[in-house]
Every structure is written in structure tokens, then in C-alpha cells.
């Protein structure tokens, strides 16, 4: 392309860009979705989930533990010891298993009639714990009850050994002591591993309307054919459209980061001994990491939408495409893999790891940063070229 050609290309791309941005800023639905609900969705959802978890965890650790007990009369001493640790005896249900199944109790303690006899004989005295491990909320009460029982059991063992003139310390040849090296920052990484997905989702939602509007939408409205009759290359038109779509996606992302840092201020993170620093440094790094990814996602959206025959069809395809970025987040949460250098090179995965590094309060290494930017930029360039090829096809323009 000679110099005049390049100038014409850029002028045309800029004209298309300017028109798409102006037109879409006048569309209330696009503005609300891309610049209001999209950016706010993540932070608000995140804030809600976070404070809900927080309140439950804090509350459950202090709250009395109500437990229905069947056969309490067989073991009055055990019951006293448990009550001293915060247990509150609930009336006994007729059937322990049925009470669990009907969700009337989270855990039921059953003391069989033979308890007293075994106790006196110095035999192991069996007691039964009924619970449903498939229900998440039951884990905390169950763990607390087991801990109370263990404390009581240890106390009795010590007493019995002392009576026989044996030091209870003999029972502890090895004493492990916890020295947790997690910092408040790294603990927060565990809790906030979903954060990168929200950013990706925001980019997706921000770009979605323009990606459809500029391809399937323009064809459906029958304005694509006249547009393509103008003396500008299709590459220039597509560049303008991609740039406009990416601008909306990035505007959406920026607003989302701002909203996150506002929400972060109001979350009582200190109570859980974690740190959430979504300051300016974090924001700028996230923007940098997400910049090539936004271009990649926007091009993919445009490719998919260009394939669709109508606006509705494009919406359906894009909703499916939206599930794609969940994969790295999901993989990392199911099998927490050790970050290897090559992983930063993979689009999405690299951003996930990089943003997690930032949340963890660590500095993002230069090599990691550049691997991430380079890998995603290459993929983005490839997607742009592919989108260009598709856009140049003859079939694309025909409305009917």
C-alpha cells in the first residue's frame, strides 16, 4: 500500500469508528448494557457473595451449636462436657436419619443404650453422628461437634492414664504445630480467584452489542450493501468496526475496575485477615494485561456474529462463546496447578495467572508480563486477520 493508500485507509477506518461509536452511544439498550449493567454486575455480585460468605463464617464460629441428641440420658457427663463447649441440646427426633433427610437438623447425635455399659467396662463406647456430607452448610457444624467430642475424649484419656500412673504426654510422641506461611495477600488470592473471570466477562458483555450490531445487525438492517459500495476497502471498514467494539469493551472494563475498587473499600476484608488492594497500580496492570485480550475477544465475537444469519442467531452463538472464558477459571479452581512460565503465554490463562499474582500482592515479573502480552497479542492478530478474511467474503454482503 502506498502512502496515499494508507492515509485513505486510516481516514476511512476513523470515519467508520466515529460513526459506530456515535450511533451506539445513542442506543439506550447498548449504553445500559455495555456501560452500566455490564461493569456493575461483577462488582455487585462479588460484593454480595463475599459478604454472605464472610458473615456466615464469622457467625458460625461464635454461635451456639444446636444439636438434637437421641439417648441423652445414657451419657449425662458427655452432654455436660459438650454443653460447656457451646452445644445446645435440642429435643430428640424419632428417627435420626429421617430428620437429616427432611433437613430438620444438620447433624444428629445418637447415644445407644449400650453406651453406659461400655463406658463402665472401659471399652470403646460407640456413639453415632448422622449427617449429609453432600450439603455444604453441614460441614461446619459437623466439624465443630467432632472437635468437641475429640476434646472430651482426650480429657478422659488423660484422666484414665493419670489414674494408672502413666503420663498422658506419652500419647504425643510427635507434636505438629501449625506455622501457616500464607500472608493476608495470598489468602485473599484464594478467595478472589474468580475476579479475573469477572473482568473477562465484562469485556465480553461490553463488546457484544457492537459485535452483533456491526455485522449481523448491519446486514439485517440492509445497510451493509450500500456501505460496501463506497470506495474504501473492506479491511478499513472492519478495522473501524473492530476498534469501536473494542473501545466499548475497554470502557466497560475500566468502569468495572473502578466499581471493583469502590466495592473493595466497603468490604470488611480485614475481619478475615485477607487483603484486597484494588488500587491504581492494580487497575493499570489489569488494563494492560486485558488490552490484547479485549482485541482477541472482540475479534472472536465479530467472527462468530459475522457467521450468523440474523441478529438473534448471533446473540445465541455469542452466549455460547461467553462460556469459553470460564474454562481457565474453572480448571484452576478444580485442580490448582502450579504456575509454569509457558502458561502465561496462553490467552485467558495468562491473564488469570497475572491478575492473581497482582491480587496476591506480588509484583508481576517482567518475563511473565511480556509472555502474557506477547502470547495474547499474537492470538489477537490472528483473530483479526481471520475476521478480515471473513469480512472480505462475497457472501457476507448479501442481505437477502
Amino acid at each position: 500500500m502506498n502512502r496515499t493508500g494508507s492515509i485513505r485507509f486510516l481516514t476511512a477506518a476513523w470515519t467508520v469508528y466515529f460513526k459506530e461509536v456515535r450511533e451506539n452511544l445513542r442506543d439506550r439498550r447498548t449504553v445500559i448494557n455495555a456501560l452500566v449493567t455490564g461493569p456493575l454486575l461483577g462488582p455487585i455480585l462479588f460484593g454480595l457473595i463475599f459478604s454472605f460468605t464472610l458473615h456466615r463464617q464469622l457467625a458460625e464460629a461464635i454461635r451456639p451449636l444446636p444439636v438434637p441428641i437421641i439417648g441423652a440420658t445414657y451419657a449425662p457427663n458427655l452432654i455436660h462436657a459438650l454443653e460447656a463447649q457451646g452445644l445446645v441440646v435440642q429435643p430428640a427426633p424419632k428417627n435420626a436419619a429421617a430428620a437429616i433427610r427432611a433437613h430438620r437438623a444438620q447433624v444428629v447425635l445418637v447415644i445407644p443404650p449400650g453406651y453406659d455399659h461400655a463406658w463402665r467396662a472401659g471399652q470403646p463406647a460407640g456413639i453415632e453422628l448422622y449427617y449429609d456430607s453432600a450439603r455444604q452448610g453441614n460441614r461446619t457444624p459437623l466439624a465443630r461437634l467432632k472437635k468437641m467430642l475429640r476434646t472430651y475424649s482426650n480429657l478422659i484419656v488423660a484422666q484414665r492414664l493419670l489414674v494408672r500412673g502413666i503420663s498422658p504426654l506419652l500419647l504425643h510422641p510427635v507434636v505438629p504445630e501449625d506455622r501457616d506461611q500464607a500472608t493476608p495477600e495470598s489468602r485473599s488470592a484464594l478467595m478472589f480467584s474468580i475476579l479475573p473471570y469477572f473482568f473477562v466477562l465484562t469485556v465480553f458483555l461490553g463488546g457484544m452489542y457492537l459485535a452483533i450490531d456491526t455485522t449481523a445487525g448491519e446486514r439485517e438492517r440492509q445497510s451493509l450493501e450500500p456501505l460496501l459500495a463506497n470506495p474504501v476497502s473492506r479491511g478499513a471498514i472492519l478495522s473501524g468496526k473492530l476498534a469501536a467494539t473494542a473501545s466499548f469493551a475497554l470502557a466497560s472494563l475500566t468502569l468495572s475496575i473502578v466499581a471493583f475498587s469502590v466495592v473493595g473499600h466497603f468490604l470488611p476484608v480485614r475481619k478475615l485477615d485477607v487483603v484486597l488492594d484494588l488500587g491504581l497500580r492494580f487497575a493499570l496492570y489489569v488494563l494492560l494485561l486485558m488490552l490484547p485480550l479485549a482485541v482477541l475477544l472482540v475479534s472472536l465475537q465479530t467472527i462468530v456474529a459475522a457467521f450468523a444469519k440474523s441478529y438473534r442467531e448471533a446473540q445465541t452463538y455469542l452466549s455460547i462463546l461467553m462460556l469459553l472464558p470460564v474454562i481457565p477459571s474453572l480448571l484452576l479452581s478444580v485442580m490448582p496447578l502450579q504456575a509454569k512460565p509457558w502458561m502465561y503465554f496462553v490467552p485467558l490463562l495468562g491473564q488469570q495467572l497475572g491478575i492473581m499474582d497482582l491480587v496476591r500482592g506480588e509484583t508481576l515479573g517482567t518475563i511473565e508480563l511480556f509472555s502474557c502480552l506477547l502470547g495474547t497479542s499474537l492470538a489477537a492478530a490472528l483473530a483479526c486477520v481471520l475476521a478480515g478474511k471473513l469480512y472480505a467474503s462475497e457472501r457476507l454482503a448479501i442481505s437477502a
Binding site: 481516514t11 438492517r221 445497510s223 450493501e225 450500500p226 459500495a229 474504501v232
Partner: protein, 244 residues
């Protein structure tokens, strides 16, 4: 001037255009007449380089449209069959968008946009958003944006579609004016009345081929028919897909 030689275009197994040749000279209105499905729209789409033909040559003012696509487009004003507007932009913004894509800018842009708005007598709707425009108003905007760069050649696909009597009269008047200024006007239609009322030259198309080409009188004389309508029917072989 638009010169077309031996155009061919197939879609899958369907031969849409099979060897079309004709010339649309400057200072004349040339009509492409044929029933629905005769290959008129495909022919026009190849002329304004939306599609490329499998074989054949197209020259727009002497420019090879297949190799110098963008240059050829600069010499064309196109009103395609699809004439959707951007409904969240005003009529003026719609026109200015296309003017900019034609390379107009600065003072010239404003001057030429105003000129075409005045020419088509659409000052009253110029600064309204095009959402809710009537069919006639929409065609005016589509025509204005196609001609804002003052092209020497005009290609219009079924321009009379959906227009009421007043709008049709205005359109005809406008096309005659363009002819008087020495421009080359080429339009397609399946309405015999429209073609006879307006055209200096008529290219009759059927089944992807040119059935005949000439002035109305030449076509009538050639078929020996009593009137033009009979001449068309006898050239095409059927009246199906045509409208009086």
C-alpha cells in the same frame, strides 16, 4: 460510461448471469428491463463491485472495475436493492457518513451535503433521525447519500420500488435532470411503464442473458409488435414476472 462484456456468474449450480454485454453511454438513461429472477440485481452487483464475475470485463469511465475496484467505485453512485439507513442518525448524518467515505472533508463536505439536500428538496427532514421515515423519505436519503459525491455514473436497482405517485414523479424528474447534466444513468426495473417513460436505451434481460438492446422504437420495429409492451413480451418469451 459503463461498458459490460460477456459477464458470467453462478451460485452453486444456478447460472444467474450467462454472458451479459451492453453499454450505458453518457448523457442517456439506460434501463435494464426483465422479469424477477432475470439476473438484473446480480448484474448490477457486479457492476458496483460487490461481487466479482467469473468471466467478463466491466469498464466504468474506462476503468477496469475488476482490478481497480476502489477507483471504479469513486466514479459510481449506487442505490442498491438494500437501502437500509442508520436509524439513530439524522438524514444529514447518514449522508455525511457516506460523503466522508468517498473522501470528502472540510468545507467541501458541508457544501456538497447541503447541495444534495437542496437538490432532492429534503430540507424539512434533513435534521431528523431517520427512524420512522416513510418509504419515500427513506429512498430520498438513500439516493442523497449515493450521489453526494456527484458521481458521473448512477446505478439504481429498482429505484421505483415502494414509491407513491408523487415520489415516482419526483424521482423521474431527478433522473432526467442528471441526464441533462451529461451523466450516465443505469437503472433496473421489472415495470414496463417505468422503463418506457424514462429510458433512451433499453436492455431487455431474461434468464441471465440479454434478449435485446436498443431504443424503444428499435425494439418495437425489430419484433414487429404493435406496441412496446407486446414487443417486450415477445422478446422475453413470457409476461411472467413483468408488471405493466
Amino acid at each position: 460510461m459503463i461498458e459490460v462484456q460477456n459477464l458470467h456468474k453462478t451460485f452453486g449450480k444456478v447460472q444467474a448471469v450467462a454472458g451479459v454485454s451492453f453499454t450505458a453511454p453518457d448523457g442517456q438513461i439506460t434501463g435494464l428491463l426483465g422479469p424477477n429472477g432475470a439476473g438484473k440485481t446480480t448484474t448490477l452487483r457486479m457492476l458496483y463491485t460487490l461481487m466479482s464475475p467469473e468471466t467478463g470485463t466491466i469498464r466504468i469511465d474506462g476503468i477496469d472495475a475488476r482490478n481497480q475496484t476502489l477507483d471504479a467505485r469513486r466514479h459510481l453512485g449506487v442505490l442498491p436493492d438494500a437501502r437500509g439507513l442508520y436509524k439513530r442518525l439524522t438524514a444529514r448524518e447518514n449522508i455525511a457518513y457516506f460523503a466522508r467515505l468517498h473522501g470528502l472533508g472540510g468545507k467541501t463536505l458541508g457544501v456538497q451535503v447541503d447541495a444534495i439536500i437542496n437538490l432532492l428538496a429534503m430540507q424539512d427532514i434533513a435534521d431528523r433521525r431517520t427512524e420512522g421515515f416513510s418509504q419515500g423519505q427513506r429512498v430520498k436519503v438513500a439516493l442523497a447519500r449515493a450521489l453526494v459525491h456527484q458521481p458521473h455514473n448512477l446505478i439504481l436497482d429498482e429505484p421505483g420500488n415502494g414509491l407513491d405517485v408523487m415520489a415516482t414523479r419526483a424521482l423521474r424528474e431527478f433522473l432526467r435532470q442528471q441526464r441533462a447534466e451529461g451523466r450516465c444513468v443505469l437503472f433496473s426495473s421489472h415495470i414496463m411503464q417505468e422503463v418506457t417513460a424514462l429510458c433512451d436505451r433499453i436492455v431487455v434481460m431474461a434468464k441471465g442473458r440479454v434478449a435485446a438492446e436498443g431504443t424503444a422504437e428499435e425494439l418495437r420495429a425489430r419484433t414487429g409488435a404493435a406496441n412496446l409492451e407486446d414487443a417486450f413480451v415477445s422478446l422475453i418469451g413470457t409476461s411472467e414476472g413483468l408488471a405493466a
